[in-house]
């Protein structure tokens, strides 16, 4: 609860600073504020409180994932100074809305009531519609926001309808009461309840960008300003997958069999289609969009596997995925600045002109591929272990096949950077930005080598 309050205050403070015309104070204030709210979040560790009649439940799962969300946002804001350096217009609105989106995301990790889930999703989504269109002059940004808004509001309807049907059959929005109802059904679930459950799955699947509800993702990602795409690909995805995970594990663990097959199929299709389509993408940004789709498939493994291990597995996965993805987006920002596009050919010879940046991107992509000893490998390994423990060998084999396919597209930038000749352009990067990229790359290596820092927290 302190997390939500502190970030909200921070958002308001940012808007206030904007009104005071203190643009240069914004980022320092935000970064400091995020550090404070991380500290406040950690203080809730092991406290297991609930607020407002179980609307918000702050357990360790909520704290851990809130930390991942805030930390990812922190990393993204660290890129913002460079990204927006030439922009004349005031930025307090964009930053403020990002923080409000973060509030929605945190709500999605700690809800105890379906109303709160919906509130969180809407807070997040409405903020994102604004962010996707925040580059008003670019037609692609307008296209992105319109596409996202139309589909998003439609799918929010599904979600709400699902919640209503569940309420209609169980008589409550409260997760605990619903789980009591589920237990009392003893196998005979009213069709209305099941329909509600599947509508809820569809609504969440859209937010996570799971096949077949993923069609918006590549276009929206491509049109959205790159910094905010990084936000979408990490914070939003983590929040939505955690919301789904929380929902299933806290409420529906009793009826594992009813939804297991559905999620199994969704995961398999997401992994295979996400990776296969990723192979055919012409540029880095769309490629990262498909990479994020396929990674949501891997994260679904944790939902299906659903064991004490999968809490930890999902935490480790979201953390390593977020850091690697933000690193990749950090370099994507540089490439788009220098070349005006992000075709793979724009990266030719980057290793010769900008060795550090090339190294960081390589580490990030290798981590996403799952090559040891990087964080992405341990994440995948842990997830697969959780799944195999539950006997999901075939799903793991599909996931492995997906990893193998993903090599094809993750290697395209690496090949361009290391094996092609440079075209003379050198990326100009300031020291703080370089240091930030290096920090993230080292972090990927470090949590890969010392996974026990994160694994086993929950």
């Amino acid at each position: 609860m302190t997390t939500i309050i502190s970030i909200t205050i921070l958002g308001v403070l940012v808007l206030f600073l904007g009104a005071m015309k203190k643009q240069s104070w914004l980022l320092p204030a935000i970064l400091a504020g995020l550090v404070i709210s991380m500290a406040l979040t950690i203080m809730d560790w092991n406290s297991f409180q609930s607020y407002s009649h179980l609307m918000i439940i702050v357990d360790n799962v909520a704290v851990a994932f809130s930390m991942v969300l805030i930390f990812s946002t922190f990393l993204i804001f660290s890129l913002a100074a460079h990204y927006y350096r030439g922009v004349q217009r005031p930025l307090d609105d964009i930053y403020g809305v990002m923080l409000f989106a973060l509030v929605g995301a945190v709500m999605m990790t700690s809800y105890g009531n379906l109303i709160m889930l919906f509130l969180g999703i809407e807070t997040l989504s409405i903020a994102l519609y604004v962010l996707a269109g925040s580059h008003k002059e670019a037609i692609t940004s307008n296209e992105a926001t319109l596409k996202y808004f139309l589909l998003g509001s439609f799918l929010s309807g599904f979600l709400l309808f699902g919640i209503a049907l569940i309420y209609g059959s169980s008589g409550s929005f409260d997760l605990q009461k619903i789980s009591v109802f589920v237990a009392s059904c003893a196998g005979n679930y009213p069709p209305m309840f099941l329909a509600g459950l599947f509508l809820l799955i569809i609504g969440l699947a859209f937010k996570i960008a799971i096949v077949p509800f993923h069609f918006w993702a590549p276009d929206v990602y491509e049109g959205t300003p790159t910094l905010l795409t990084a936000f979408m690909a990490t914070v939003v995805k983590t929040a939505a997958i955690v919301a789904m995970y929380r929902f299933f594990t806290h409420t529906f663990c009793g009826i594992h069999g009813v939804w297991e097959t559905t999620i199994w199929i969704l995961a398999a299709f997401t992994i295979l289609l996400g990776n296969l389509t990723g192979v055919y993408q012409p540029n880095l940004k769309r490629m990262l969009a498909y990479s994020s789709i396929s990674h949501s498939g891997y994260m679904l493994l944790a939902v299906v596997a659903f064991s004490p291990m999968s809490d930890n597995a999902l935490l480790f996965y979201t953390l390593s995925y977020s850091v690697a993805t933000i690193t990749a987006f950090g370099i994507l920002i540089l490439i788009r600045e220098a070349h005006g596009n992000d075709f793979f050919s724009s990266m030719n010879g980057l290793a010769k002109t900008n060795p550090l940046e090339a190294f960081c991107l390589t580490i990030a992509l290798f981590s996403l591929t799952g090559i040891p000893p990087l964080a992405g490998f341990m994440a995948k390994y842990y997830l697969f272990t959780a799944a195999i423990e539950k006997g999901l060998v075939w799903l793991v084999i599909i996931a492995i096949a997906g990893s193998a396919i993903s090599v094809v597209y993750y290697f395209k930038p690496v090949i361009a950077m290391y094996l092609k000749n440079p075209d003379g352009k050198k990326l100009t990067v300031e020291m703080p930005y370089k240091a930030h990229l290096l920090f993230m790359a080292l972090m990927i290596i470090l949590i890969g080598i010392l996974p026990f820092l994160v694994i086993g927290l929950l």
Partner: protein, 482 residues
């Protein structure tokens, strides 16, 4: 502790090299580093002979909740592989002295990184550590071959990467599956993995997963298609690392992990695997005869030679297994020697085409003599190292099946055909304008070859030391037979 030091030292030198400015100093630092590393492995060898083996075991907790530990140690087979690695690395670096690679710091640093990963693979006593190092060898190998390789290197190295990566991913699934079949509390420790209780069907699947990973690396027919291209397209040092050491990872993996874990399936599938391996011997030999590119010829001959080793592993008797172990060392020495000679020839004549060469022996007698010795080792002439290994392998195969050993024995005839014919066409005959003014070996070049020749004769004349080191562990592994 010594084992851990063997892993850390190359990594430390690799990182140190990256901090150096480009210049000649880098190669000397790399050479000195690998020589110190070799000294350490000799110390390990001596310690292994004299005192208790526990000194060489390093064990620390890593991920307790998942049963993964940092456990590295040595037994006889491991020791031979570590010795081979640390022995070949200085030779490979020394042989690379007449090339000036761009970005030498990165190049030599990757080679040392590779050494670290290879020693990790051989000394890992924990299943997941084995896998992690196994995959880690791939990164430096890929970059060495892709960045400093020849024409068409992008396509070739990518094929190589995909092939080996896919194979090892299935091994990962098998390892995780095995982990849950070990007695509770589960562990990746190899002793525990040996204890895993598996139904016959499970064993078959795990066997197939392991076999795929190892067979791609070795490579066994029909999974060899990445190999000739990769060997040809890689820079000389890369080829030597791949052919000399990296493919031994596959055979080593079979002996250390696959046979003890799923011995029933291994026995059941041994004839099939052997047919593949022996097909590969005949097939690759026939192709080797027709090659005009020296590097491709040796690449195909390598498929034939390791095919024999793989067949020997599946014979599952002491003779063949001992032959396999000694032949891993032997093949590493010989194939690196051959690639060094080819590299020296290419530096001098700018070509690898056999038809462009000829008459070199009269102009460069030292080169010709070294070539002859290594070549004779490779075709298994008595008194050279190749004879010991191939004799034991064929003896073991004969004990297993007379028909298989008859076909596998063809390798001796075939290798004599393509090797001697190659020698005849390059070294003997008339000189042409390319070979007219060829320069004989210089002292630094001889320095790379002399250690190889010493080992060739040492193993050929007194193989006892090498065979005895591995014998107890070979027996141990074969005792898992029901």
């Amino acid at each position: 502790m010594l084992t851990l030091l063997l892993i850390i030292l190359p990594l430390a030198i690799a990182l140190f090299l990256l901090t150096l400015k480009a210049g000649k100093a880098i190669r000397y630092v790399a050479l000195a580093g690998t020589l110190i590393e070799f000294g350490l492995s000799v110390a390990a060898f001596i310690q292994y002979q004299t005192t208790c083996h526990c000194n060489l075991l390093f064990s620390a907790e890593w991920l307790v909740s998942l049963g993964i530990s940092l456990k590295f140690g040595m037994d006889g087979i491991t020791l031979l592989m570590v010795m081979l690695t640390t022995f070949l690395l200085p030779v490979i670096i020394l042989a690379s002295f007449n090339h000036s690679y761009n970005r030498p710091a990165a190049f030599y640093s990757l080679i040392l990184f590779m050494e670290m990963a290879l020693i990790g693979v051989f000394t890992a006593f924990d299943g997941l550590m084995f896998y992690i190092f196994w995959e880690m060898t791939l990164i430096p190998a890929y970059f060495i071959c892709a960045v400093w390789g020849g024409n068409d290197r992008i396509r070739i190295t990518f094929k190589f990467f995909i092939y080996t990566f896919v194979g090892s991913l299935f091994m990962l699934v098998a390892l995780i599956y095995l982990y849950f079949k070990t007695p509770a509390p589960h562990s990746f420790d190899f002793q525990w993995l040996y204890l895993a209780t598996l139904t016959p069907a499970e064993q078959t699947w795990i066997f197939l997963a392991f076999f795929l990973a190892f067979a791609i690396k070795i490579p066994i027919f029909p999974l060899h298609t990445w190999q000739p291209d990769t060997y040809t397209g890689s820079p000389p040092a890369g080829t030597m690392l791949l052919a000399g050491i990296m493919l031994k990872m596959g055979i080593y993996g079979m002996i250390r992990w696959m046979i003890p874990i799923c011995h029933q399936s291994v026995q059941q599938w041994a004839p099939a695997a052997m047919i593949l391996a022996i097909t590969g011997i005949v097939y690759a030999s026939l192709i080797a005869i027709r090659q005009n590119d020296l590097k491709r010829l040796v690449a195909y001959s390598s498929i034939a030679h390791v095919g024999l080793i793989a067949a020997g592993v599946f014979a599952l008797n002491v003779h063949a297994m001992q032959g396999a172990v000694i032949q891993m060392v032997t093949h590493g020495i010989n194939v690196v020697g051959l690639f060094i000679i080819i590299d020296f020839l290419q530096v001098r004549t700018k070509t690898r085409n056999i038809t462009d060469l000829g008459g070199i022996a009269s102009k460069a007698p030292r080169l010709a003599i070294f070539f002859m010795i290594i070549l004779l080792g490779s075709i298994a002439l008595p008194l050279t190292n190749g004879f010991i290994g191939e004799f034991l392998l064929l003896l073991g195969l004969f004990e297993y099946s007379k028909i298989f050993s008859a076909f596998a024995g063809l390798t001796i005839i075939f290798s004599a055909v393509y090797m001697l014919w190659m020698y005849q066409r390059t070294m003997l005959g008339k000189t042409n304008e390319l070979t007219e003014k060829i320069q004989d070996l210089t002292w630094p070049e001889m320095a790379a070859l002399i250690p190889l020749v010493i080992i060739i004769f040492w193993i050929g004349l007194f193989p006892g030391l090498f065979l005895d080191v591995a014998l107890p562990d070979v027996m141990q592994i074969l005792s898992f037979k029901p």
